[in-house]
Structure formats: C-alpha cells, structure tokens
Amino acid sequence: MKSIEKEIHLKTIGITKRFGGLVAVNHVNINVMRKSITLLIGPNGCGKTTLVNTITGIYEPDEGEVYFEGKNITGLPPDRIYREGLVRTFQIPSPFTKLSVLDNLLVAARDHPGEKFRTHLFRRSWIKTEEELINKAFEYLKILGLDKYWDREASELDAGGLKLLEIGRALMSDARMIILDEPIAGVNPRLAHNIFSHIVELRNKLGITFMIIEHRLDIALRYSDYVYAMNRGEIISSGTPDEIIRDEKVRSVYLGEV
Amino acid sequence: MIETLISGITYSSLLSLMALGITLLYRTTKVPNFAHASFVVFGIYTSYTLALLGYNPYLGTLLGFIVSGIIALILFYALLEPLRRRKSSIFILMMATLTYDILMFGIINIYADYLQTTFKIPARNVYLAPQDFTLIGLKGVTIVSTSLLIVLLMLLYILLNRTIIGAALRAVMENPSLAQANGINVSLMLALSWFLAGGLAGVAGALLPMYMMTDPSTGMLLIAPMFCASILGGLEQIYGAPLGGFILGLATTVLVSWLSGVIGYWIMTYSLMVPYITLIVTLIFIPRGVVSIILKR
C-alpha cells in the first residue's frame, strides 16, 4: 500500500449528540481512511444516522470535533461541508419530487455558472457547462440503470429507484468522500451487487472515499475494507470484515438479531 | 396611570384568551390558525345581538363560546380534516385557514348589513361599554375578563391533566401517529381542540365590545397581537400564551402611554405597530418564546 492510502480522510473525536435526556451518539471516535470503503453497522436506532447527520452539519454536536482532510468542520452548515468535498445521501430518499430525474442529478453539480445571479441571464455563459453536465449525468444514470427514466418526474420512481437516485446525486457532486446511508435497502440483490461493484470501481478509478451505513451485511461486507459497529450510540467494535464477523459483542447485539 | 394599568390588564386578559387558542391549535394540529380573527368577531356579534335583543351582553360569553366553537368546528370538518386525510402539507393547511377567514369575514359583514337594515342601527360600530356595570370602582369587563381567564385556565388545566380526554389530547399533541396506534381517535381529539380554541376566542370576542369600539374588521386588527402574544409566550407551551398576552398587552397600553408622556404624544399613532415589531423581533431572536428562556434556567 502506498503511504497516501494510509492517510486519514475523515476523523471524529468524541462526537456526542443528545436529544433532551437521550444520548443518541456517545463519544464516538472513528477514522475513515482515504480511498477506503468503510462500513458502519448496528441495529436500528443505534445512532448511525444521527452520527452521519452530526458529521454532515444537519445537527450540531454537543461535544466533540469532526475533521475532514485535516480541517476542522465541526458545526459547519451542510452546504459548507458539501463545498469541502464531503457529500451524503439520505436513508429515507429525499428526491426533488417535481424535478426530472436528470434535473435531480444536475442540481448536485458543483459551481454551475448558471446558478449565479450575475450570470444566469446570459444563457451563453452557462449552456456549455450544462451540456457537459448532462453528458456526465447520463453516464451515472446508465451505471445506476436509471437512464430510461431520465425525463420522468422523480416522484414516479419506485423505492429502489429513489435509492439509486440518491446515489446518483452524490456521485454527481464530484465529492472526494461520500457517505451513503443504506444505499441498497429495498434494491434487488442483483442490482445491489451491481451498485457495490460500481462503488468499488469508482473508488479505484476516481479515488473517492466511501463510508456506508448498511444492514445487508451478506452483500456489503464483502466489498468493504473496514467496519465500525455501533450499539446504543457507542462504537462497540471495529476491524476488518473478517474480524467483525467473529467479534463476540457484534454477534450478540447485531448478527444474533438477523 | 392606575386607569391605564387596569385597562391594560383587561386588554391583556382578552388577548391571553385569544392567544391560548392559537397555541392550543398549533400544538394539536401544527398549523398557525389565520382564521382565529373570525372566531373572535363571531363572539363580538354574539354578545351584540344579545344586547340588541335586550339580554345582558355578558350572557354572550357563554353563547359566544358555543357559536365560535361551532364556527371553528366547521372549519375543521369542512376544510382541515379532508386536507389532513389527503396528507396535505402544512402550507396548504395554512392556506385553508386563511381562506376560511376570508369566507367568514364576508359572512359577518353580511350579518352586520342585515342588522343595520333590519334594526336601523349602526351595526358597524359595536360598543357596549356604556351598558357595563361597575363594582367597587372597577369596570365589569375588567372583573369578568380577568376572572374568566383564571377560571378557564384552571378548567383547561384540569381537562388536560386530570381527565382521560385530556390525556388523549396530550398524547395527540406529543405524537399523533403513536396516539393513533394506541387507539385514540385523533380526528375527534383534534376536533375537540378546535372547538375549545374557537370557544376561547368567542369568549374574548364577546367581552371585547365592553372594552373597545369593535366592527367586523376588528379581527383583522387583532390577528397580529394574537399571534404575537402566542409566539411571545412560546408556541410549544400552552400556558405560555397568557404570559405572552400580558407582556404584549401591558406593553401596548401601559408602556406606550408612559412613553407618550416622556417622548411625546406622536408615539401613540405608532402604537398599533408595537405587536408587529414585537412579533418580528421575537421570531428572529427567541422563536421559541419567553417560556423557553424561563424553562432553560
């Protein structure tokens, strides 16, 4: 392994998030290595999504710090965190329902001159970018098998389609790290494997780091490099997929339930 | 000065009754009720009609409670409940209350026109204070509005905290889907909250002509103070409403009158703007109301 691949991409130190008296996330420390595919597992309600929400600025942490590429991004608003190069998807798909599938992807694009008030009036100044982005969006739509629905309203997609749309938007953002919240929940196994192999491919080709929350370990584990297991707001174990599968604590709280 | 203070307390009590309903509805239905003004105006015309027919206008508090409660129930069953069933957004529900307010404004004006032509009286200037009684130097409206506020607050507290219906209502406020799952008839509980809120507004409305000159557009003038009182108290806490009502009520009467002595009389012409400015400042700086500050400590 090259040294750069050992570099820490995302680091949290003692992240804590409370809601009233309930501690949803309790002093969580995780390190996500650059160009890794890191899995975050744990039973429902164990704080995984809250952790992600706290990392990506939806919530402000009560304690602790988040570093992305060595920069402290604790408490920054979500749009600033996006600008830093960290993008996430949502467990409950959050499509822009009345926009077309294609537009949903285009919204995620970075630094579009047509979105600026000063230049939006001059179509010529942004139409080329728009066309390039459309081509790029189509590549992702093809990978995700959504290309035939490109001109439909996003609300017409089924649950699996919406999941894929979430991923498509994240990819479109040119992020250096993407956090996927249950990307293959409700997706058929063949497509699920397909999506994970594309994730691996994107990691290899573009060097994108992935952190993935997933329940379907039968599929997810074999594609990941490192795993964190959470329970009741705390990290209870971490290691390679093989280590995690054999871990007693993980087996009792998580695998035992499946 | 004492007179201003007493007048301020009366106004604050009335404002509190109105704000109480707004907060209650916001807690149960999650919608700011822009039709609250109409509920108040129906109260005004209930006691006015009673006075015209030769009854004691204070009977209007009881009848006004029922009339405005029913007006609120109609809004709930005709507009809000069908929309809620369709899972309409909060925005659509707000629009529905605004629409209902317009509709009721038309109806109350037609009623005022009708009174005017039938009884040959100026039904657009409703003022009943001359008919009010006095007791130990206090105006009747002051005694009745403050004591009714206290009594109704106590009744509301008992209803919410000491009865099965109240427990169900509180469950609906906390988590409607969970309440539904536990076999509570959410729709019925919401309807109850609309009846209560409409009724409280009706009581306030019925007393209003004893306090000030009113007409069909009085509701429109009061909608900002009502919301201001409710938000100032904190929309998340029912008992915040009277607190907000008194802060705002005293500010618009006592404070403004004191200021007009200090700064100059011209400030009085701007006194109508106090609730608007308080409302906006509150929303921007303490959107969860004064109660949120008190509870934090």
């Binding site: 990506t56 939806i58 608003p77 979500p78 993008v87 996430r88 959050s94 822009f96 329902t97 009345k98 926009l99 077309s100 294609l102 537009d103 285009l106 919204v107 995620a108 047509g114 979105e115 008030f117 939006h120 009036l121 942004w126 459309i134 189509f138 001109d151 309203e153 953002s173 | 919608v31 700011p32 507009l79 369709r86 909060i90 925005f91 707000m94 629009m95 529905a96 605004l98 629409t99 209902y100 317009i102 509709l103 404004f105 038309g106 109806i107 004006n109 026109d113 032509t117 429109m220 900002a224 938000i231 012409t269 109508l272 703007m273 609730p275 608007y276 409302l279 929303l283 921007i284 959107p287």
Partner: protein
C-alpha cells in the same frame, strides 16, 4: 355601447396586467423558491405609496417648474402646474415614468430585503405568520407618518400618460402595464429554465437535501425574494400611476389573498398556468363588478361581501380537489437537449 365595451376591455386588461405582475412575482417566491409570502401587500403597498410620495417631487425636479404648494399636502394646486407641462412634453413624461418604475422596483427590492431577515431563519409556518404581519405594517406607517402620503387622506400624483391626449390616456396606461407585465412574465419563464431557477425549485422540494447538495438556502431565498419584491414594487408603482391617486387603504384581501387564489387556480410553479388563472379570475371578477348595479337592489347587503364568500368557497374547493391547479407544474426539458438525448440513445 361600443365605448362601454372598450372601457370594459381596457379596465379588464389593466387589472390583468397588474395582477399578472404580482402573481408572477408570487410564483417566483412560492412557485420556485417555496417561500410562503403571505405578505405580498408589504412590497406592493410600498411601491404604490413611494410612487405617491415621489412622483410629484421628481416631476418638479425634471420640469424645473415653480411649484409653491407642497405636492403632498396640497396636491391639487401642485398638479395644476405640473400636469399641463407633462401633458405637452412626452419626453419628460416618459423619463418620469421610467424613473418612477425604477424607484418602485428598488424600493420593492429593499422591502424584500427586510422581509428576508425572517425568511432566511424561520420555518415555513413561522415565516408565514411573520410575512402576514409585516404585510399589514405598511398601511400603519402610511397612516401614522403624514409626510409620506398625507396620512389617511392620500395623495394625487401627476399624470404621466396624458401627453397622448386625455381620450387615449387609459389606453396608453393599460398598454404600458401590459407591456411591463409581459416583460416580467418572459423573465420569470426564462428564470424557471435556468439552473438558478432549478436550484430554487430544489430548495422548495426538499430543503435538507438541497442544502446537503451545497445549495445555500439563504442565497437562493434571497434572490427569489428580491426579484419577486422588485416585481411587486413595480406593480404597486404602476397601480398608483394608473389610478392617478393613492390612499393607505390597500387591502390584504385584494393584494395578497387574491393573488394566492389566482396562482392556486392556474397552477403554482407553472407560469402559463398562473397567467391563465389570472386571466380567468380577472375576467369573472370584472364581469361581476361591471354588472354589479343589476344586483344592487335585489340583495339586502353590499355585493362586495358576496365576493368574499364566493371566492372563499372557490379557494376551498381548489385546495381540496385540485391544489395543483388547472395547468400543473411539469419538469422542464429544453427541446434541443431532449432531441440530442433521444438521438444519442437511439444510436446505442
């Protein structure tokens, strides 16, 4: 008879034009950016009142006329001097018109900025309350602060359209209103097709997803609010110039509720739908008002209240049965892009 019909059509088109501007503005604010602007009256009345306040003053500056009377408190004597000069001088009249419209737009935009404070921070429901409350403030200011537009008496403004001859004055005014409404409409339609409009719609559809994809809520709401309020300000200006006078009596019903009703009727988010809704509504409304005298003796109350009730009922029905309007919003895909994509897909 012919004159009556022409009068009816002129009046109809003027109202259509003014409402089209307001509704297009509302469509940008709510239809695109999702801001529940229940305070449309704020910038509309602002535009109307600032025009009442400034038109005569600017006319004095432009014409260099010697006017002894204060144009706010003694408008009649001021206008006796100003109107003849404007009537004989089209160039100055047009310059005055343009300046006033620019002022209306800027003042509207400024008021939009004030509304923005809450618009950025608050949740939809709290925001609606604040904007509704703000909408009422402008009338209080105009009534309380006498030097603005002479308190509740209001002001008359110089006539910038009379140079064409008093016979054609209303036609010209209506023509200009329609022209400006058309320009604003075209702009709104264009905006909806730009990536800027798309970003606004994304925020409307899902704030959290949009902000997580780098779209600053503040920025895009600000842009929508400022554009919308500038439009509204222009509409207010034109209303004052068209009527020739203004009093601080602009009502929430006419200038906030009705625009909302029209955009719901036509289809929120769809400009063509909004225009259609506006036309249908104004046509029916004007027909009723034009024939109001037929009902005057029949009903025991003023017909205007019947307006409130019928419109309230219509709005209720729309909300329940067709909240998407006559022409619902559709995703926009430029024709050339669609063609390109279809061709490239068929080659594979």
């Amino acid at each position: 008879m012919f004159d009556v019909i022409i009068l009816f059509i002129t009046d109809l088109l003027a109202f259509f034009g003014i409402y089209l501007m307001l509704n297009t503005a509302l469509n940008i604010e709510r239809g695109y950016a999702g801001i529940p602007n229940f305070g449309l009256l704020f910038s509309y009345a602002g535009g109307a009142y600032i025009t009442g306040h400034l038109t005569a003053k600017i006319a004095i500056l432009l014409t260099g006329a010697k006017v002894e009377a204060d144009p706010i408190t003694q408008p009649v004597s001021a206008l006796m001097v100003l109107n003849p000069i404007l009537a004989s001088n089209p160039l100055i009249s047009i310059t005055l018109l343009i300046i006033i419209l620019l002022i209306g737009a800027s003042f509207g935009a400024l008021l939009g900025l004030i509304q923005l404070g809450p618009a950025i921070r608050l949740r939809e429901d709290y925001l609606a309350i604040t904007l509704l409350a703000l909408g009422e403030v402008m009338n209080y200011i105009a009534i309380a602060y006498k030097p603005f537009i002479n308190g509740s008496l209001g002001v008359q403004v110089p006539d910038v359209f009379s140079w064409i001859g008093s016979r054609y004055r209303f036609y010209l005014a209506t023509g200009i209103i329609l022209l400006i409404a058309f320009i604003l409409y075209i702009y709104a339609e264009f905006l909806g097709r730009t990536p800027l409009g798309r970003a606004m719609k994304a925020i409307r559809e899902n704030e959290i997803a949009a902000v997580s994809l780098g779209k600053s809520l503040t920025r895009y709401r600000a842009i929508a609010m400022i554009i919308g309020s500038a439009f509204t300000g222009v509409a207010g200006s034109l209303w004052t110039l068209y009527s020739g006078a203004i009093t601080p009596t602009l009502q929430r019903f006419d200038w906030t509720f009705l625009p909302w009703l029209m955009i719901f009727l036509g289809g929120i988010g769809n400009n063509l739908g909004v225009a259609l809704g506006t036309f249908i509504f104004v046509l029916i409304n004007r027909l009723i008002i034009f024939n109001k005298h037929l009902l005057a003796g029949v009903l025991p109350f003023d017909i205007v209240w019947f307006d409130y009730i019928s419109l309230g009922l219509i709005m209720g029905l729309i909300l329940i049965y067709r909240p998407q309007g006559i022409l619902p919003e559709k995703p926009y895909i430029p024709k050339n892009i669609r063609r390109k994509i279809v061709v490239s897909r068929s080659q594979e």
